[in-house]
Each structure stands twice: as C-alpha cells, then as structure tokens.
C-alpha cells in the first residue's frame, strides 16, 4: 500500500513515531519540578502542534513547491472553522460531517480565490492574496455578523448554543466526538513524578497529520509535484516544454487551501469556536513564518516550524518576571535583578521580539530553515575534514 521510496518510508515512520509518542516525549520534566514550565505535553498544545503542522504542510505544497507566496491562507483556515462549527450547530457534535464540509468549503473558496489571484505572479500575486485575506477578515468580522444575517458571530466567535437545532444530535454527547468517542477524553498515566496525558482529540489530529503528511509525500514525489517544482525554477521553459502552468498552480493552490480547511475544521473540532482573527493577514503571516522557519520545500520542515512557533507562543509567553526571579534567586540580588531585567524583554510578553529576531536570523543565515541547519550540522559532524562536496549539496536539495 505504501508505495514509497525507502527514505520516504523512513521519514514517515520517524514522524509517526514522534507524533504518537509526543505525550511522553514532550513531557521530559517531572510535574512538580521547576523545569515543568517547559513541558509541552498537554492536550491543547499538542493538538495545536499537529493542526498547525497540517496547515504548514499544506501551505508548503504551494509555497515550497511552486514558489508562489500567499499571504491569504489563513482565510481558508477560518472558512474551514466556520463550516465545521455550522455543522455542529445544525447537525450534531460528530466531527465527521464537520471535517468533510470544512475541507470542501475551503476547497471551493480556494478555487475562486486562486482562479483570480493566479492570473498574476510574483509580488503581484502576494499582494492580491493579501488584499483577499484582509477582505475576508473584514467580511467575517463585521459584515457577515450583523444581527439580521449572522453567519460568523463577529468578534465573539461562532459557537454552539443550547438552543441550536442540532437535528441529528439525539442523545449524543454534548461535546465534539467521533461516533461517541469524545475529543476531550484524556487518560492520565502517572509514572513516578511524571504525568503523561493521552488525549483522544490529540490522537485524532495526529492520525490526520500522518495521513496529510503521507499525501504530501506522494504529491512531492509525483509527476505533478515535479511539475510544481519546475514552475518554481523556470516558468518560461515549462511553457515551451508544452506544459500549461496555470492549472498546475491552481491545483496546488486548491490542495493547500483544502489542507488549511482541514486544519481549520480540526481546530473547531477540538474546540468548537471559530473566531475571525483566524483570518487576519498576520495569521497568514504566521504560517509563512512556520514554513520558512522549518524549511520551505522540505517535507518535515513545516511541521518543525509549526511546532517551534506554537511552543514559543504558549510556553515562552508564560515565563513572567516572578518565574525569572525564582530561577535566578540563588544569585546575588543586584545580579539577579540585572539578569531578570534583560531577560524580561525577551520572554513573557516580549516573546514576539524573540520570535522576530529568531526569524530574521533564520532568513539571513539559514535560508533552508531548521532542516537546512540540521543537514549542515549532520554533514559537519559526519565529515569534518571534507567540507561539502558539490554533489552532496546537490543531492540534499533534491532528496528533501
């Protein structure tokens, strides 16, 4: 069934290993220890890791392969979320119809937007998607949430109310579920000082990620994927080779839009609320950051990038001054205060600054992202005396 090359199979197995054991791997520190601050193995964050991983993997199919930089992909995520919540409101909390509708709607939306935006390329394309994203946000935030026609519930976010019809609900659970299996059910396994949380919702997301990742590998290795890479490299040649680049980019756009819709639907399935901020252009910017940070055009890069940024957003932002003080409390007072004073610009509420700096450093020094960094370190460790022969570099960039 898995007709993958050996390397790809290995990659899939590694990703599967890490995703399935994430609840353990991400919780390296005992619950009561001071380092527990850095544990990321709780359901909500793990869900976000994989959901945004899916989002970024999809975005990478467009950006990484064809080089078209879209600043509007958050719109599809938002549309997917809205579609899913509407399914919860109208049918029941079962996530299956919600997931289907969110992918379909996002796909249709992407088809329309792609059809228009892809008539231009380069920076013009980016600005067009930016304009579309801002328009969608404005429409969702207020135009479509007026009292007479409330499709999005504006600032508050679309959510399920007790008096919603939910025609198919019957006696079913009143929380999101997959044929009765509730998303929020969590088994906590205590081993010594550690507590590991195995959450149903997380594993559903993880399975979706693995499927999405598998599909992405297939696309990367397919003739279709090859054509997309060719578009990035040289559109003129592509056209004179008898290939029509338009449908290729459009399909890539729609596929990545559907990935975003899937991510949006999952987000709503884990937490049945859809807010308009999800559609803002800065949210699109975030997925761009993820993809670049991890490594655009590589298979695992986007997942790494998504994990990295979500970790920052959720863990670094929680390190406040009193936490800092407790870390350095052994130092003399003056020194302690000085260190805390410096650090507090970078953690807690200053996490955006750290992220911005980190991102700049990656773009400047590691154009291939974290994956590139990893490859360089690997090569450096493996062959310290024989620095990068040309063939090696050539191989690396095509294999990934």
């Amino acid at each position: 069934m898995f007709t993958l090359a050996k390397n790809d199979k290995l990659l899939l197995v590694i990703v599967a290993f890490f995703t399935l054991l994430a609840p353990i791997i991400l919780n390296p520190f005992p619950t009561e220890s001071a380092m527990a601050q850095f544990n990321a193995g709780y359901p909500d964050l793990m869900q976000r890791f994989v959901i945004f991983g899916i989002f970024a993997v999809g975005f990478n199919i467009l950006f990484g392969l064809t080089g078209y930089l879209s600043f509007g992909h958050a719109a599809f995520l938002g549309v997917g979320s809205y579609a899913a919540v509407w399914m919860f409101k109208l049918l029941s909390y079962n996530i299956v119809p919600a997931m289907i509708l969110s992918v379909v709607i996002a796909g249709i939306f992407a088809l329309i937007m792609g059809f228009i935006c892809l008539r231009r390329s380069g920076i013009y394309f980016s600005i067009l998607t930016l304009a579309f994203a801002q328009m969608s946000f404005a429409i969702a935030y207020s135009v479509l949430s007026n009292p007479s026609f409330n499709l999005t519930n504006g600032e508050t976010g679309l959510q399920v109310y007790n008096d919603d019809p939910q025609y198919l609900k019957g006696d079913g659970p009143s929380t999101t579920h997959l044929f009765g299996l509730e998303m929020r059910e969590t088994f906590t396994l205590d081993i010594g000082a550690w507590a590991f949380q195995f959450n149903v919702g997380y594993y559903i997301c993880a399975i979706f990620l693995l499927v999405a990742f598998y599909i992405a590998i297939r696309i990367f290795r397919s003739p279709f994927g090859l054509m997309l890479k060719a578009i990035k490299t040289n559109q003129t040649r592509l056209n004179y080779t008898g290939l029509n680049s338009k449908p290729y980019t459009l399909f890539a756009f729609v596929i990545s839009g559907m990935y975003a819709g899937l991510a949006g639907g999952l987000l709503a399935s884990m937490d049945p609320l859809a807010g308009a901020e999800r559609m803002q252009w800065t949210a699109s910017g975030e997925v761009v950051l993820m993809t670049i940070l991890g490594g655009a055009g590589t298979l695992v890069g986007p997942i790494l990038g998504a994990g990295f940024i979500k970790y920052f957003e959720n863990i670094f932002s929680k390190i406040n001054d009193s936490v800092l003080h407790s870390w350095f409390s052994l130092l003399p007072d003056g020194l302690e205060n000085a260190i805390v004073w410096v650090l507090h610009f970078f953690v807690g509420k200053g996490w955006h600054l750290t992220l911005g700096l980190l991102f700049m450093l990656v773009v400047i020094f590691l154009p291939g992202g974290l994956v590139d960094g990893g490859t360089r370190i690997y090569n450096w460790v493996r062959k310290p005396r024989n620095p990068e022969p040309a063939e090696e570099g050539a191989q690396a960039s095509t294999d990934q």
């Binding site: 397919s222 279709f224 994927g225 090859l226 490299t233 056209n239 008898g242 029509n244 095509t398």
Partner: protein
C-alpha cells in the same frame, strides 16, 4: 508545401518597420538557417513563430495550423520545440528530472493531475529520458543539478529536452551564442549528428557564419525586415545583395 509557411508577414513598432512582407517556406526534414545583420528582424520573426508577437498582417502556418496568438504550451504540443539563446532549463532540478519533465509533457499533454503516482516508478519515462541522455553523451551527469553544468552541457541538456519530445520542428535561436570555439564545434557536431539520426526539421537563427555554413541546407537572409535572398548555402556565399547587406551594414 513546407512544414512551416510564413506569408506576407508585416510588423510595425510605432513607425519602425520591423518586418516587411516576409515570406518563408520551410521544407520538411531540412535545416533552414535564417541569417542577417543585427537589427535585421530575426528575433521579431522568431517571436512571431512562437506566439509572443502577433504580426499586423500575414499568416504563419505550421502543418496547416495557424500559430498566431496561441500560447507557448499549445505551440509545443503542436510539435514545435524551441532552444533559447541562453539555455532555459530547470536549474534547481537534476539533469534527469529536466528530461523527464519533457517526456511527461509529451506523454500526458499540457496538464495532467498525476499526483498519486511516483516519478521513480514511471519506468517508461525514465528509460526514455536515460536513453536520450545517452544519445547526447550526458548519461554520467544525470544525477547532477542542472544549474551546476557548464554552458555547453546546459545547451546539450536543453537540446535533449527538446528532442525527447520528438518535435516536428525545432527552432534554434543562436544556439552557439557566447560559446567558446570548442563548444561551438561540439554543438555543431551534435546538431549534425542529431540531424543524421532524426531528420527533424530545424530552423536556425544565427549570425555566426561558421555555424550556418556547416549546418544549413538552405539559407534565408534577412535585412531591414525583408528577405533579400533565399537559396542553397553555396549560392548565398556569392550573392551580391547579401554581401552588401553585411558589409554595408553593421560590419
């Protein structure tokens, strides 16, 4: 009836007459060179063949089908391949991938949503591409990134990409421009060799006389937007009008 028929083509840019009543008839299976001094209108004419420019009047027919105003990929799918002045290849991909893309375009048409199959398992395409690379003596470089090839090899690769599609007509736009003498000779040999094997019709636009006279079976001379002569190579050499155009012109 030739394979490519150009009749009464006129093209003006503002007040400038770029092409004036150009008539050409390219015979199937020949190498036909179009020469002329700088600014004679060679590039404009070529652009009319490939849909980039639409002439003000006149027709360009390939196998009876008009080429005017249609998209590059349609022209290619109709059987016209093009080699550029500076090699246009997929620099970020391997040599083998480059040729395979051409083969896919030949097999699957302008678009095919073939996203589930694996490139590695398309054995027919791979074998065809490998065979093609062997034909142009590049089999040993198939795993290299094409961007890292020498200029001569890039040209060779571009040629391989075009030939792998079995075109009916091959347009070559100054195929040896900017090449060292050795590379130029290699390219001439390659072209001659290919022509020996495939007999594909070729239109070469060139101003290197050495290349033209080593290859062409027929030559059209363009000057100031008009065809001033069309004849066999040996006759062109002695043509007074041609000499005047070259000596009285830029050189």
């Amino acid at each position: 009836m030739g394979i490519l028929e150009v009749s009464n083509v006129n093209k003006n840019f503002g007040g400038l007459k770029a092409l004036h009543n150009v008539n050409l008839d390219i015979e199937e299976g020949t190498i036909h060179a179009i020469i002329g001094p700088n600014g004679a209108g060679k590039s404009t004419l070529l652009n009319c063949f490939i849909g980039k420019l639409v002439p003000d009047t006149g027709t360009v027919n390939f196998n009876g089908q008009s080429l005017l105003g249609i998209k590059p990929h349609q022209i290619n799918q109709a059987g016209v391949s093009r080699v550029f002045q500076t090699p246009e290849i997929f620099m970020d991909l391997t040599v083998l991938d480059n040729v395979m893309i051409s083969c896919f375009a030949k097999r699957d048409g302008a678009f095919s949503f073939n996203a589930w199959a694996s490139v590695a398992q398309q054995t027919d395409i791979r074998e065809k591409a490998e065979k093609m690379l062997e034909d142009v003596n590049m089999a040993d470089k198939s795993k290299m990134l094409s961007g890292s090839l020498s200029r001569g090899d890039k040209r060779r690769l571009e040629m391989a990409m075009c030939l792998s599609q079995d075109p009916k007509l091959l347009l070559l736009d100054e195929p040896t421009a900017g090449m060292a003498r050795a590379d130029t000779n290699n390219t001439i040999e390659l072209l001659a060799d290919i022509h020996e094997k495939t007999k594909i019709t070729k239109v070469v636009i060139e101003h290197d006389m050495h290349v033209v006279f080593s290859l062409a079976q027929k030559i059209s001379v363009l000057a100031q937007g008009t065809v001033i002569a069309e004849d066999l190579p040996e006759n062109i050499k002695g043509n007074a009008k041609v000499q005047e155009a070259y000596l009285g012109g830029a050189h």
